[in-house]
């Protein structure tokens, strides 16, 4: 039994509360780091995280790439889509294939 969490600023994630997933609101860099380390230590299966927060947590997220749970998934925040999520897919392809073959 795993839980689902969403991490980001209030405006980006407030709607998710209605769906019954946990929301972790954080603004400053310290808050984000603190909340994230709390989430990965508890029993969370999926952590959705806004792209803005993910930029701060780059190292922490790449450290989790090899484990099965939690899955850290980037979503666009209220400030718009930075394309970071798509970039990550490209990175995985480059790692596996050796060059970027997706258009």
């Amino acid at each position: 039994m795993y839980k689902i969490a969403v991490l980001g600023d209030r405006d980006s994630i407030c709607g998710f509360a209605c769906l019954g997933v946990e929301t972790a609101v954080a603004y400053s860099e310290n808050e984000i780091k603190e909340q994230f380390s709390r989430l990965i230590n508890e029993n969370y299966g999926i952590i959705y995280i806004t792209e803005q927060c993910a930029d701060i947590l780059k190292d922490e997220i790449s450290a989790l790439e090899a484990s099965v749970t939690p899955a850290v998934i980037l979503i666009p925040g209220v400030k718009g889509n930075t394309g970071r999520g798509m970039e990550n897919i490209g990175r995985a392809v480059e790692k596996a294939v050796g060059s970027l073959i997706l258009d």
């Binding site: 709607g15 769906l19 897919i89 997706l102």
Partner: protein
């Protein structure tokens, strides 16, 4: 040409030949594994891309509704509306095995049987945009779960593919040529010994014949 540091003996030769056979078999197996992983990976990564495009679009749309809602409602009433969610969602994580890579499969579980039970507030004092936002988020949620599953699987597969490719290359370009070179070296050395032995025997035979004639 890299000859390993071994004694050129017959025993070593048999050993090396046996190891070469194993290395070749391992190479073939790993190559098959790499190809199959790659096939699965490419399929998944396309799905990943498609899902991500869809999810990002839907979330952007939902965010737009929420911005409208925050604009037309006071912050307090919005916070109160979203404070007590009636639905609660969790997931069961099952493991799926893709070429001995463990990947997650997420199965959602809802506290309330009715999945539509998402509006935790009265409709009278809230903006319609809030309803719209919540509805579009709840519609995209199954896709978001699938996205999480696929994206995680892609990450795990790409790591495994990189590792396997490295092993295949090490076997193909280092181990197997080294074994072949060393085997050739030992064979040559043994043949050379054989020839020098023969010439020595011939020489001794000549010497013996000469000395017997001399008597």
């Amino acid at each position: 040409m890299a000859v390993m540091n071994v004694n050129p003996t017959r025993m070593e030769l048999t050993n090396l030949k046996r190891r070469l056979v194993t290395a070749r078999r391992g190479h073939k197996l790993l190559k098959d594994k790499r190809d199959e992983l790659m096939r699965q990976f490419l399929e998944l990564v396309r799905e990943n891309k498609r899902l991500r495009e869809k999810v990002e679009k839907a979330i952007t749309e939902a965010n737009r509704h929420f911005s409208m809602a925050t604009a037309s409602m006071s912050e307090e009433s919005l916070a109160v509306s979203l404070m007590m969610p009636s639905q609660r969602m969790s997931i069961e994580v099952n493991e799926k095995n893709i070429m001995s890579v463990k990947t997650p499969v997420f199965v959602p579980e809802y506290k309330l049987a009715d999945k539509g039970e998402i509006y935790s507030y009265g409709l009278a004092f809230t903006s319609g945009d809030l309803d719209e936002g919540v509805r579009s988020l709840s519609e995209i949620m199954p896709d978001m779960l699938r996205l999480a599953e696929v994206e995680k699987t892609c990450q795990l597969l790409s790591t495994e593919i990189e590792k396997t490719r490295r092993r295949v290359n090490a076997l193909e370009y280092v181990m197997i040529p080294d074994y072949e070179d060393t085997i050739r070296f030992i064979t040559m050395k043994l043949d050379e010994n054989e020839r020098s032995n023969t010439t020595r025997l011939m020489k001794i035979k000549d010497m013996m014949l000469q000395s017997s004639q001399g008597i």
